[in-house]
């Protein structure tokens, strides 16, 4: 009886399909309740913002840019869900629309920085030697420059529109990514599977992009989730200084700026966009932490 049982168990064990690294990480992420909840919350925020923009466009929600000068600075609930601002615009609609802009900047600028950083770091690490030294010295130079200078000059060079804001922020946020990927590639390129790829006659390009970079994906994903909040914060700082998103467009940064100017009379103008912004950053940070634990099995053995 006992024997039969163990044989059956053996068969069951054999029937379990092997889990890939990605599935394994996903399972671990799901077990981390807080990070998983943050993932859902982020999805919800994204859905709400894009849905809100869609509904305003369809005329169901008020237009975020429609001014009603007879109804300025209305209190929350008074015909407006979260009140109205100094030009009588609906704060709720503006937060949803501004969130879409902020998130778009966060995602697109991060993608720009990831593309630059990963390529740059991988090439430096793979080529090595003098080329690597020169490339990394250039990173040192950029590191030692105040980033705001770079962004301001880039923005004035190309004009203050959203597209160049993406590029300018991406152009200053890739440095750490380049360093991380370079370190990974340097340790990976000495391993046997690269030697095998080379002995099969693969070119440098395909070794780099098909074999080395995919193997750096774990750290890249983790650092990417942590870059999104810092990009969003940078965008907000720039908008706050009047150098980011320009009116009539709005982002959470510009809304917070407008709110801070009128904080003493109507606190909601500052508090609501600030809360939306803080909640998003909070979720992104927790998700990043959760991903780090999920993708790094060594660190999460406890």
């Amino acid at each position: 009886m006992n024997e039969v049982n163990s044989v059956r168990e053996l068969q069951i064990v054999e029937a379990v399909p092997g889990t890939s690294l990605g599935q394994d990480a996903w399972r671990r992420l799901k077990r981390n309740r807080l990070a998983y909840a943050c993932l859902w919350a982020l999805g919800g925020i994204l859905l709400l913002c894009s849905g809100g923009a869609l509904l305003s466009w369809a005329g169901i929600l008020p237009d975020p840019n429609a001014t009603h000068l007879d109804r300025i600075l209305a209190a929350p609930g008074d015909g407006y869900l979260l009140g109205s601002d100094a030009l009588g615009r609906d704060v709720f609609a503006r937060i949803l629309f501004g969130g879409l802009v902020s998130i778009a900047v966060g995602v697109v600028a991060t993608l720009v920085s990831v593309i630059i950083g990963v390529t740059y770091g991988a090439v430096a690490g793979y080529v090595g030697g003098r080329c690597d030294a020169v490339m990394m010295r250039f990173v040192d130079i950029l590191y030692a420059m105040p980033f705001v200078i770079l962004v301001i000059v880039l923005m004035s060079l190309f004009g203050m529109n959203l597209f160049w804001l993406f590029i300018a922020i991406g152009a200053v946020e890739w440095l750490t990514m380049a360093r991380i990927v370079r370190g990974q590639v340097m340790s990976l390129k000495k391993q046997e599977f690269i030697e095998a790829a080379r002995s099969l006659g693969l070119g440098h390009g395909s070794i780099l992009f098909r074999h080395l970079i995919p193997n750096c994906l774990g750290p890249v994903i983790v650092y990417t989730t942590l870059t999104v909040p810092s990009v969003m914060r940078l965008e907000a700082v720039l908008s706050f200084l009047g150098m980011g998103v320009q009116p009539p467009n709005s982002s959470w940064g510009t809304l917070i700026k407008e709110g801070a100017d009128r904080m003493t009379t109507s606190a909601g103008l500052l508090l609501f966009p600030a809360a939306a912004f803080a909640l998003t950053l909070f979720c992104l940070n927790f998700l990043g932490d959760g991903l780090r634990d999920a993708l790094d099995p060594k660190g999460s053995k406890d």
């Binding site: 010295r137 250039f138 040192d140 130079i141 950029l142 590191y143 030692a144 420059m145 105040p146 705001v148 200078i149 770079l150 301001i152 000059v153 880039l154 004035s156 060079l157 909040p229 914060r233 907000a236 700082v237 706050f240 200084l241 917070i256 700026k257 801070a260 904080m263 003493t264 500052l270 600030a274 912004f277 803080a278 950053l281 909070f282 940070n285 927790f286």
Partner: protein, 312 residues
């Protein structure tokens, strides 16, 4: 050791020349000029001004003279936009403001962040940990430009403890901006300290110490602190320069006449000499604090002194 220091010095000079050159190139490419005002200045006067500041020379010569100014004469020249002030004077006046606010902010951030991080690690996944971690995350997620206006509203306007803005004679006005600036760094410091201490506490020698019956406090402070703070020290390298060189946001909101304010204004107004001076000051501070951070890691981590002998 000497070789390491000398090597670093040469490397730093290369980086500084690189920073100045990059800023120079960017400014050459950027549209707009420092003499554009609402007033319509006659063309010949603009030409005279350009000649006075040496802007009529070929770019290569301008670049060469600019490097000479900084590395031979240690003089940034005259500011384009602040008439009658030299760059050196402006920086001498504004840097102490940023240093005071930033230094106080750093002390606040370290004084609160390190103990919080250590406690969070020692009481992992318990009440104290959740409290410390949430505090840290609040510091990171609440942007400075939200905290600053709120702090002004509460502590300056309501309670009247500090002046709401400006740099008056009241001696304590730097406290509020320092705390606001420090809160953000406090968050990071707590998180990094917590992670570093957790790593240190998982080492075998900690288990040995526990087995020997040493009290927990002694293990934390004497056995693991030095090891656990290593990641923090490497984070502080670049961060310290960022704090001390002045935060644009904090200085703008509190109206402090610090470096950050001048740097942004100089970039906006194409005030090349002042921008060069600010960028140079910031770069030098980054390099110095990175160097100090490396030295501290060398001193704190016996393994770096071990097999390899020298620092890489």
């Amino acid at each position: 050791m000497l070789r390491f220091v000398l090597g670093r010095l040469v490397q730093s000079l290369v980086v500084l020349v690189g920073i100045l050159t990059l800023t120079f190139i960017l400014l050459q490419l950027a549209p707009g000029n420092p003499f554009a005002t609402e007033k319509n200045i006659p063309e010949h006067i603009v030409a005279n001004m350009r000649k006075y500041y040496g802007l009529d020379r070929p770019p290569l010569e301008q670049w060469f003279r600019m490097l000479g100014n900084y590395f031979v004469r240690f003089d940034g020249g005259e500011s384009f936009t602040k008439d009658g002030f030299t760059v050196n004077e402006i920086i001498q006046e504004s840097l102490p403001v940023s240093l005071l606010v930033g230094g106080a902010g750093l002390v606040f951030a370290l004084g609160l962040g390190v103990p919080l991080g250590v406690i969070a690690a020692a009481r992992r996944n318990r009440g104290a940990d959740y409290l410390a971690s949430s505090l840290a995350l609040a510091g990171i997620c609440l942007p400075t430009f939200v905290v600053a206006p709120l702090a002004i509203a509460v502590f300056a306007l309501e309670l009247g403890w500090f002046a709401p803005a400006g740099w008056e004679d009241r001696r304590l006005d730097w406290i509020l901006p320092a705390i606001v600036l420090g809160l953000f760094y406090m968050g990071y410091i707590t998180r990094i300290t917590r992670a570093g201490m957790l790593e240190a506490l998982s080492q075998d020698y900690v288990r040995t110490a526990l087995a020997k019956g040493l009290p927990e406090g002694r293990i934390l402070v004497i056995h693991t602190l030095r090891h656990g703070l290593l990641p923090l020290v490497s984070y502080l390298g670049p961060a310290v320069a960022g704090i001390l060189a002045g935060s644009f946001v904090v200085e703008t909101i509190f109206g402090l006449p610090g470096m950050g304010l001048h740097t942004v204004a100089a970039a906006r107004d194409r005030d090349m000499p002042l921008l060069m001076g600010s960028v140079m000051t910031y770069g030098a501070m980054v390099l110095v604090s990175n160097f100090l951070s490396d030295l501290a890691q060398y001193w704190m981590n016996p393994r770096m002194r071990g097999a390899g002998g020298e620092l890489s």
